[in-house]
């Protein structure tokens, strides 16, 4: 049954109003900040590929976008996490790179949340909130991809065969990390990096460690800043670790914790990955919806203002049909990410925060009181244990699969439609669409990335099969295709 049917009756009151508020704020932000600079910054980054758009990050910080979706008890805005997807669609419809400059921060924070480590969560939230007050943005990244392993690290059934190079050695009081991570979004602009590495490169599925790495830690540095086709304002960075000692206080989750739970280490690693990617893939689906919408809007504007063969373009019947198709692509993409967010609210990362009475209590409690009441408890070891118990023991495998499978659907539906609409818009606009100053071509360059990160769309199709379809056939197995295949 659709997640929305389950979620509808349980939906916390006030969530809709809050989401409306978020959308209105994003529209204002787009008008005042994003739209006036999106094309100019894209061009500037072609002139100077190493330019970092601190100005935008500072503005987003001032507007509260880096704290809005952090828990209220930790000093954040406490906005419902589903509304982040709507925000990403709004901002993404104008500039995907700038949406990414905001969205990736929550990918980093979501990763930390999936560790259940309340102490580090509280620390990073405090720094982000302080950064907002001081005008000194504190952003968080997620670093998992390696030069030799991209698709592999997103899937426990593949990772044991991966060519990994980033290794964490247990030493007294912490770990020593060596190796590198690549393509890390916002790397050069962030202060903290949620690093996923392994203590046994032969059995990574059972030896994953999550650490929070601050800038300036000895042995940690930034490498190259990639030259991308699009989303130029959002840097993709290389992170280098050279005998980098990471003290235990920065370790968010490792095997010492995982041993305490009933699931196997490997199952827990997959559960952790699913907790992270289920909301983040919904958000990338929302980026895709934004791209589809931006392209549709550009095409519609062009068709409404241009005369072709003596007739207003929008009055050619085939153009009407194309615009209808593009409109449908936007609507369907939005429906799938919305459905995924219902699943996340019911069974995923933020299930406890979204439902009555928790949501209403948190919403109504003034921020200072909320921090006072809950804040002191959250820093205690008991809070982390309680949180981990809820996360790792209270989620059924069935719920994990439904959420993860839907998230994959949201990801590849939204992003495929995003690219499709861009291509339709350019075909419809002819030569007018290719000029950078008209905006349409940039959406296409930006959108293509969406089919690649957060797991390629191919990996996501296989994940959907694994999560939602394979159970229908007792002999079905995934990622075990016989060597040689059809080649």
């Amino acid at each position: 049954m659709a997640a929305s049917l389950h979620a509808g009756p349980k939906l916390a009151r006030g969530m809709i109003g809050q989401t409306r508020e978020v959308i209105a704020l994003c529209r204002k932000f787009c008008d005042e900040v994003v739209r006036p600079r999106a094309l100019e910054i894209d061009k500037k980054l072609h002139e100077d590929p190493d330019y970092l758009d601190w100005d935008f990050v500072k503005k987003a910080n001032d507007w509260g976008f880096y704290t809005m979706w952090l828990p209220k008890a930790m000093g954040g805005g406490g906005y419902n996490f589903s509304s982040l997807s709507y925000a990403m669609e709004e901002i993404g419809s104008v500039c995907l790179a700038m949406a990414n400059l905001i969205g990736v921060h929550y990918l980093g924070f979501g990763t930390l949340t999936a560790s259940g480590n309340m102490r580090i969560m509280q620390k990073l939230c405090r720094e982000t909130v302080l950064g907002r007050k001081n005008g000194d943005p504190c952003l968080i990244t997620l670093a998992i991809t390696e030069p030799g392993a991209g698709t592999d690290v997103e899937e426990v059934d593949l990772v044991d065969k991966a060519k990994l190079g980033c290794f964490a050695k247990r030493v007294e009081g912490g770990y020593i990390v060596n190796g590198s991570k690549v393509f890390i979004s916002n790397g050069h602009l962030s202060k903290w990096h949620m690093l996923i590495t392994y203590t046994d490169l032969k059995k990574p599925s059972e030896s994953a460690v999550m650490m929070s790495i601050p800038n300036g830690l000895k042995g940690f540095s930034f490498g190259r800043h990639e030259k991308k086709m699009g989303q130029r304002a959002c840097p993709a960075s290389e992170l280098l670790f050279d005998d980098c000692f990471v003290p235990d206080e920065y370790v968010a989750l490792d095997n010492r914790v995982k041993q305490k739970f009933s699931r196997s280490q490997k199952e827990m690693t997959q559960q952790m990955i699913d907790y992270v990617v289920s909301p983040s893939r919904a958000a990338v689906g929302a980026f895709g919806t934004g791209a589809a919408r931006g392209a549709y809007e550009a095409a519609f504007k062009f068709a409404s203002e241009t005369v072709v063969d003596g007739e207003l373009y929008v009055n050619h019947e085939w153009v009407q049909s194309w615009l209808a198709e593009m409109h449908k692509n936007v609507t369907l993409s939005r429906l799938v990410y919305t459905e995924t967010n219902y699943a996340n609210s019911l069974w995923g990362l933020y299930k406890d925060l979204h439902f009555e009475p928790m949501f209403s209590i948190m919403r109504r409690t003034p921020a200072f009181l909320s921090q006072k009441l809950f804040g002191s408890f959250l820093g205690k070891p008991g809070a982390t244990e309680f949180m981990r118990e809820r996360m790792f023991n209270d989620q059924s495998v069935c719920h994990q699969c439904r959420t993860s499978g839907l998230a994959s659907a949201a990801k590849f539906t939204g992003t495929d439609y995003g690219v499709k609409n861009c291509q339709m818009a350019l075909m419809l606009m002819g030569g007018a669409g290719v000029r950078q100053d008209r905006g349409a071509e940039k959406i296409l360059r930006d959108a293509k990335l969406l089919q690649i990160y957060e797991g390629t769309n191919q990996l996501n199709r296989l994940n959907l099969f694994k999560c939602l379809i394979a159970c229908g056939c007792k002999d079905a197995c995934v990622f075990e295709e016989k060597e040689g295949g059809a080649a």
């Binding site: 593949l158 991966a162 086709m229 072709v308 350019l426 075909m427 669409g433 690649i452 990160y453 191919q458």
Partner: protein, 374 residues
């Protein structure tokens, strides 16, 4: 370049392929950085010396004459590695063909014979932009024996690179005609290169004319016909560029998929990846076959040549968009980076398809002209 027999045609194709792989491919990323880096003027000078910009000219102007297969195979071979130079040759061939179609053979002969460098042989134009579809904002008036142009011509390909530009203008504000003007010192101001989606090293410029002296081409009232006739055959040359881009994309994807390991084996061993690569290779092969067959029909003067050229173009354009999209995908994250050629091919294919005009409208025209005979 005086060769006309099959052997010499094969040599031309090989010269194009060698030039692209040895001269263009190693500097592709740098050349594509234009206008934010230097233009690949050395490559243009060498291409001029090799006679690539003469290829579409009649035989007595050192070209390959009426036939389209030499031009197409040259373009396809170059576009495999870098579509920007192919787009320059194509754009120039379009303008040269407009001159021929307008009956200005002697004028063209003079240009070809007098050209001392690439700027001298290149002619800027709006290429596939149909002036009868979107009327120009450029006006021509008679001034004694001269014609003077006033107004604007947007997106003139090679406009700031070539010595001359060929543009449509409205005479007496209603009748369409083509004009040839020398860029200097004729009162034409040329914008910075327009920053656009693809083929960055084949730049376009917005031009503004203030009493710029120009030469009237052809006969009054014939501009629409001239354009339609040239566009008709040049669709095939455009198709060959797109076919070349596809070939390059397939090759790069295959090479990478053999080397890149995920899940303990080269990604080419996963059947989902094989499905992608197989689809790319099939679309590319059919496109190549469509170009070859249309060239054969065109060169033999077959009555179906017009529909063959347009059908080949439509097929290649749609396929190139799909193939180059998958071409990035096959490489994962690195496909999106400038380090490989895939992201450029994706932009170039999409760009060329769009600047050649509104694709769905071409499909309507195909039905009207080729199938319904309207």
């Amino acid at each position: 370049m005086k060769g006309k027999n099959e052997k010499e045609l094969a040599l031309l194709a090989k010269a194009g392929a060698d030039f692209a792989s040895k001269i263009l491919a190693p500097n592709r990323e740098e050349s594509d950085n234009f206008p934010f880096g230097p233009l690949f003027t050395d490559a243009l000078a060498q291409a001029f010396d090799l006679g690539f910009f003469h290829a579409a000219l009649p035989e007595d102007m050192e070209g390959f004459g009426e036939r389209l297969s030499p031009l197409c195979s040259l373009l396809e071979n170059i576009a495999k590695d870098d579509a920007s130079l192919a787009a320059i040759i194509l754009s120039n061939a379009f303008a040269q063909n407009l001159l021929l179609e307008a009956g200005e053979t002697e004028l063209l002969k003079g240009i070809a014979a007098g050209a001392e460098n690439y700027a001298g042989i290149l002619i800027g134009s709006q290429v596939f932009c149909d002036p009868s579809e979107t009327p120009p904002a450029l006006y021509a008036k008679k001034d004694g024996n001269d014609w003077l142009l006033n107004g604007k011509s947007p997106y003139v390909v090679l406009g700031g690179l070539a010595k001359r530009v060929l543009v449509p203008a409205l005479v007496e504000k209603k009748e369409l005609a083509f004009f040839l003007a020398e860029v200097e010192p004729a009162g034409i101001s040329v914008s910075e290169p327009v920053f656009s989606l693809g083929v960055h090293a084949c730049p376009a410029y917005d031009l503004e004319f203030k009493n710029a002296k120009a030469r009237f081409l052809g006969q009054p009232g014939k501009a629409g016909e001239i354009f339609a006739s040239v566009a008709g055959r040049m669709h095939l040359a455009a198709a060959s560029v797109l076919s070349g881009i596809m070939k390059g994309s397939v090759k790069e994807a295959l090479d990478y998929a053999k080397k890149r390991f995920q899940g303990g084996k080269p990604i080419i061993r996963w059947s989902e990846m094989q499905m992608i690569l197989g689809g790319m290779a099939q679309k590319s092969r059919i496109s190549e076959m469509a170009v070859t067959e249309a060239c054969r029909l065109f060169d033999s003067g077959d009555s179906r040549k017009g529909s063959a050229c347009l059908a080949a173009f439509l097929h290649c354009a749609e396929s190139a968009i799909e193939v180059t999209t998958d071409g990035i995908q096959a490489l994962g994250g690195v496909g999106y980076m400038k380090d490989f050629g895939q992201e450029k091919r994706f932009r170039d294919a999409q760009h060329l398809t769009a600047v050649f005009g509104i694709l769905p409208k071409k499909k309507l025209r195909y039905l009207q002209k080729a199938m319904l005979g309207e």
